[in-house]
Symmetry: C2
Amino acid sequence: MQMKTLLLKKEEVSRLIRMKEVIGTVEEAYKAFNSDQVVQPDYIGIDLHPPRGDIDFKLGYYKGNEIISMKASSGGFPNNPTTYGVPSGMGTILLFDARTCALICVMDGSLITGLRTGACGAVSVKALARKNAKRITSIGTGNQARMQIRAINEIMKIEAIHAWDHTSESLSRYKADIEREFGIPVVMANSKKEAVEQADILITTTRGKGELVEAEWIKPGTHIVAIGTDAKGKQELDPEIFRNAKVVVDSITQCSEKGETQHPLSKNIMSKDGIHAEIGEVLLGEKPGRESDEEITIFDSTGMAIQDNTTATKIYRNAIENKIGTFFEFFE
Amino acid sequence: MQMKTLLLKKEEVSRLIRMKEVIGTVEEAYKAFNSDQVVQPDYIGIDLHPPRGDIDFKLGYYKGNEIISMKASSGGFPNNPTTYGVPSGMGTILLFDARTCALICVMDGSLITGLRTGACGAVSVKALARKNAKRITSIGTGNQARMQIRAINEIMKIEAIHAWDHTSESLSRYKADIEREFGIPVVMANSKKEAVEQADILITTTRGKGELVEAEWIKPGTHIVAIGTDAKGKQELDPEIFRNAKVVVDSITQCSEKGETQHPLSKNIMSKDGIHAEIGEVLLGEKPGRESDEEITIFDSTGMAIQDNTTATKIYRNAIENKIGTFFEFFE
């Protein structure tokens, strides 16, 4: 008996997937999640003592593709580069054929979280932003802020980006990079308020260390993509924003505990019943998306294992099709 | 930045570890577990629809070796060999350097569960059996029954084995294999009672489908190694055996729920306080092992992630030392 496992390096993974495809795999994941096609156990992890970070293991089974994925991802090891010569966060994805549980692929997993998180904003923009939205405001200018633009740029014409960050160096680098890579003009805002007031689409991608955006700054018709809050205690938005907004989440269970939605719930600004939909329901046509140009819509994303599953599966299939990667026989 | 990950095939794994070493790694694991050196989150898994089985992911961090292990193991896919040409159960182990969370090794994991489970009986025999024990009784004659003998044969002289199984074909094969491999005479018992009455050491390795061993058959001084029960509802022993026995477990938490110990607890034959020790406490000298030749001792083993950790780490180190395996760079 023999089993061939495909090994894919980081550089191969990066060549094997385009952002346009990731937008498709994330849409597929959201729809699958709301079609009773997904098994996602609670993730398990180990927290190490500072200055070390943590490592998580996220498991997802998608009946539609008969693939079980397991992503190990670590982060928060600031001394890794200098002391050990490895990145501060790394990732590995295993894919199993769910018909047999044979290990069909081991791939570097350090790019996928960024890609599938980037794509989720674009998926929400298609479903929830105004059709005439042109201006994006970016609170946060790190790697994930760029990913959001990379993805949204695939699905709409961005006229201008108003950006803000705590540090002006990061803001300047973001402006230079975005203008060079996408040719979209970036306005460096003098204040968060100034930036937010310009938004048709507001994206928050900070570390979630507290309220950054006040409710009165948000103009009618804005679509908000809330990315940075993915753990209990993190926060980016004034919870009052939720009071009169249409709230869409990736997973009600996850967002109630770990997403931006935890705050309006715990402050009784809204109840769980006040969550309009999981985004898969909107994509499946089971619940409406945006219904007027005046609505404020919020998409709260915490990230789901099934997004890793569909995205890694696409990478695997592209690799097989293009004969990229190295086969290894763990047993013969 | 560069990371070299060692890949080890099943055949290499089998060459890289001897049972004598596994007895050492399992002892190390038990001691570590009772020395506040271990983090073992609850395992996660996915149950597929019959005729498919399940896949589990078990995570363990051992501070003593600074290794995090993750074992994926599947089982119960009867159609795999004929329909898909792969075994009915498979396994993969990832090892991470806990200082950085870099992936240092991916090895086939289909042999390790059998090896470390085999070794646990021998570890318990050293700690709990009579020093003059000579005769073993084996209820069950499958792969794990052989593993138990392979391990115990490393630490004592076995004079004879009395064996019993539901099917006489399995029993005959066991006799032939054990006599050829170890030169130990095997008596094929006509009944369970006949076999059990001969035991200095009684080992049960069946699928745990119900009570097989009655309390009155057990003679004073017997050491019982209870292997087969590792899930809620499984059972091999009359729970009355526990009433006057010295009960030692691998993990009180696990054995109370999933081990043979679940039954005397649920029948109020004993309370959790009646569990004498976790075996690590005995090995560390914190609690006594056997204290007389008349005691009946029971070792209830459910299996812990930390046993996979110490055993796989030994295999990894042996591979590095002997320059066996294939390095793969998941990123450069």
